[in-house]
Amino acid sequence: MTAPSPQNKPVAVWPLITAVAFAAAALATLVLIDNQKILGLALAGIAAICLAAARFGGVAATEAAASENPWLLRGLILIAAVAVLFVLRDDNFGLLMVATVLIYATVCIGLTIQMGYAGLTNFAAAAFVGTGGYTAAMLGQKGGLPDALVLLGGGLVAVFIGSLLILPVLRTRGHYAALTTLAFGVLFNVFLDANELLGGPQGLKIPGINLFGWNFSNDLHILGFTFSFYVNYVILTGVLTALAMILAGLLDKSWIGVWLDVVRLDETAASVFGLRIGTWKILAFTLGNFLAGLMGAVYAKMTGFIAPANFTFGDSLVMVSIVILGGIGNRWGVLPAALIVVLLPEKLQFIQEYRLLLYAILVIIILIARPDGLVARRVRALRMETR
């Protein structure tokens, strides 16, 4: 006797297509609009559509369609990305913002692996980003190294610096663990400020990327259209974000994800079941720091300038708040959250000065009203059906 399995029912794909098209259109609109009032109206409209979609089951339908047709999802995202790039092709500022959003999102995917999956508190994300940035700056000054190695070096040095913290991170729990990363973040900033070799408070200048003979500082000419050189950076950061997303997805879907869940939820139970807690914590910590360092190097190369003021404790808190906003442990959530956190202050000038204040108030409200973040992570559904 076989009960009808709900999974055999065909899932409509049109909600997925609509959702991706809507996301692309919303992104392009937000980046393109300069008038503050119209931007406010557009934001309200987008929020209303999102709420309505959530209310009438659109979000669930989209999720179902996405999980049933992963390749369709990837193809749609690719098409949407190309379309957005084409629309924004000569908007330097807009493209810079999109690349910055992607950098923040990727760092926060790393932070999600650390905080959301493994339950490791990390209040020094900005310090690891800064490690990558300064590594890129120093390697660039020496010259001669190909930029692919420079970027990779940013990630690896962040991993190395992070590994110095492994022992305290593994040995401490709770508040004591929070302190080690907190102290490290402050230490890093004080160190940068005092260090003459690293430019002190004035910071360092860095040349742009030249990857495999592809100079990122040149505009692109394709089919008679001119694309701003920032398109290079958007493509690079987009590819890195996609890779990080796939990595986090593979982690989440595999047994490693289950083990990380167990380690996060109950260390005693994990050790009773014979899990090597240390191994999985180190894996999560290392992966997260690598992503932070790598993106730090890309960020430094893209903006051409870094200073200690870019990597303060406040910046670490902004990154943690992106993770919280997106829903702790929900890797898709970091994309819209990073978009809101990075884009809004840039676009709405009156927010610029008040942005830290507003994030802080926003996060407090979210922590009180929705302790699991705006879009909570789904409880893992174990599929016991025959496959």
Binding site: Y176, T180, V186, L187, V190, L357, A360, I361
Partner: protein, 303 residues
């Protein structure tokens, strides 16, 4: 060798401030099991309140001692109200949330206070000059010069630590606090007004912060909106090194941190910009060695 006196005095001064801040962390943790990371910014708020009080009393033409008293009174009152308010409106509703959420929330409260001072205090982005209210000058012992105001402030700081210790261990309110720390449910059945003890506890811890903030302003003659952040990290560090929830540990931790900083400055003057780096590295190593602090938290009596 004439510098030893100055280093010693400076270390004592910083250690007293750190100890006062760490004591607040310990009180909150002991009673409610929370880290109130906005503690440093409550300190800043208190210091700015003290500054405004000095301005106000000065413009009213009151004498310098009156200004001095007004500065401390305003700072302590303001920080007490802020501390009690934060506990009542934010910490109590969230007290069953995961520790990370609570830590993050109080960090964000601290950010709100810090940013609010920066944005809304007149010329808040720049450091503010704190008036000198204590007699300047000092005296020499051997070749060491001792600042009179620093000695007065150290004595006042240590006395205030003593007063807090007395309140916790010798008064009825302290008894209620310790009962709540021990077991909330039992304390309530024994007739302790939980809803009143908690805000008062937070007020007490925050008063020490306001006190420390004013001492800081008087000693360094300058306060700024961001000073609370580093003081909070150092105070938190000191409390943790001493062992969270242990009041003596917090004070030992505070002086230890100041001692490390002072040692770096005195032994390797060229590296004095890195004093906090050294201190934090040593503290992280210390935590690795003793993951629950030097004086481990005692199970039965936490405050």
């Amino acid at each position: 060798m004439g510098m030893i006196g100055q280093h010693l005095l400076n270390g004592m001064m910083q250690g007293t401030i750190y100890g006062l801040v760490a004591m607040g962390f310990t009180i909150f943790f002991g009673v409610m099991n929370v880290i109130k990371f906005s503690h440093g910014d409550v300190l800043t708020l208190g210091a700015f309140g003290g500054l405004v009080a000095v301005w106000a009393t000065h413009s009213l033409g009151l004498s310098v001692p009156m200004q001095f008293v007004a500065a401390f009174a305003a700072a302590m009152l303001l920080s007490a109200v802020a501390g009690a308010g934060i506990s009542h409106f934010l910490i109590m509703p969230l007290r069953n949330a995961p520790p990370l959420n609570m830590l993050l929330m109080t960090m964000m409260v601290g950010t709100v206070l810090r940013e609010a001072i920066r944005l809304f205090f007149p010329n808040g982005t720049n450091p503010q000059r704190f008036p000198e209210l204590l007699p300047s000058g000092g005296f020499n012992i051997g070749s060491s010069f001792f600042r009179t105001d620093a000695l007065i402030l150290i004595v006042a700081g240590i006395a205030s630590i003593g007063v807090v210790y007395w309140i916790i261990n010798r008064t009825k309110f302290g008894l209620a606090m310790r009962a709540v720390a021990e077991d909330v449910e039992t304390a309530r059945t024994m007739g302790i007004n939980f809803a009143r003890v908690i805000p008062l506890t937070f007020a007490l811890g925050s008063i020490t912060a306001g006190f420390a903030g004013t001492i800081y302003g008087l000693y360094y003659s300058e306060i700024n909106y961001g000073m609370g952040l580093l003081l909070a990290v150092i105070g938190f560090t000191a409390a943790i090194v001493g062992g969270l929830g242990n009041i003596w540990g917090a004070i030992v931790g505070g002086y230890l941190f100041a001692g490390l900083q002072t040692f770096v400055v005195a032994a390797i003057p060229s590296m004095s910009d890195y004093k906090n780096v050294f201190a934090f590295v040593l503290i992280i190593m210390l935590i690795t060695w003793r993951p629950t602090g030097l004086l481990a938290e005692r199970g039965s009596e936490r405050v």
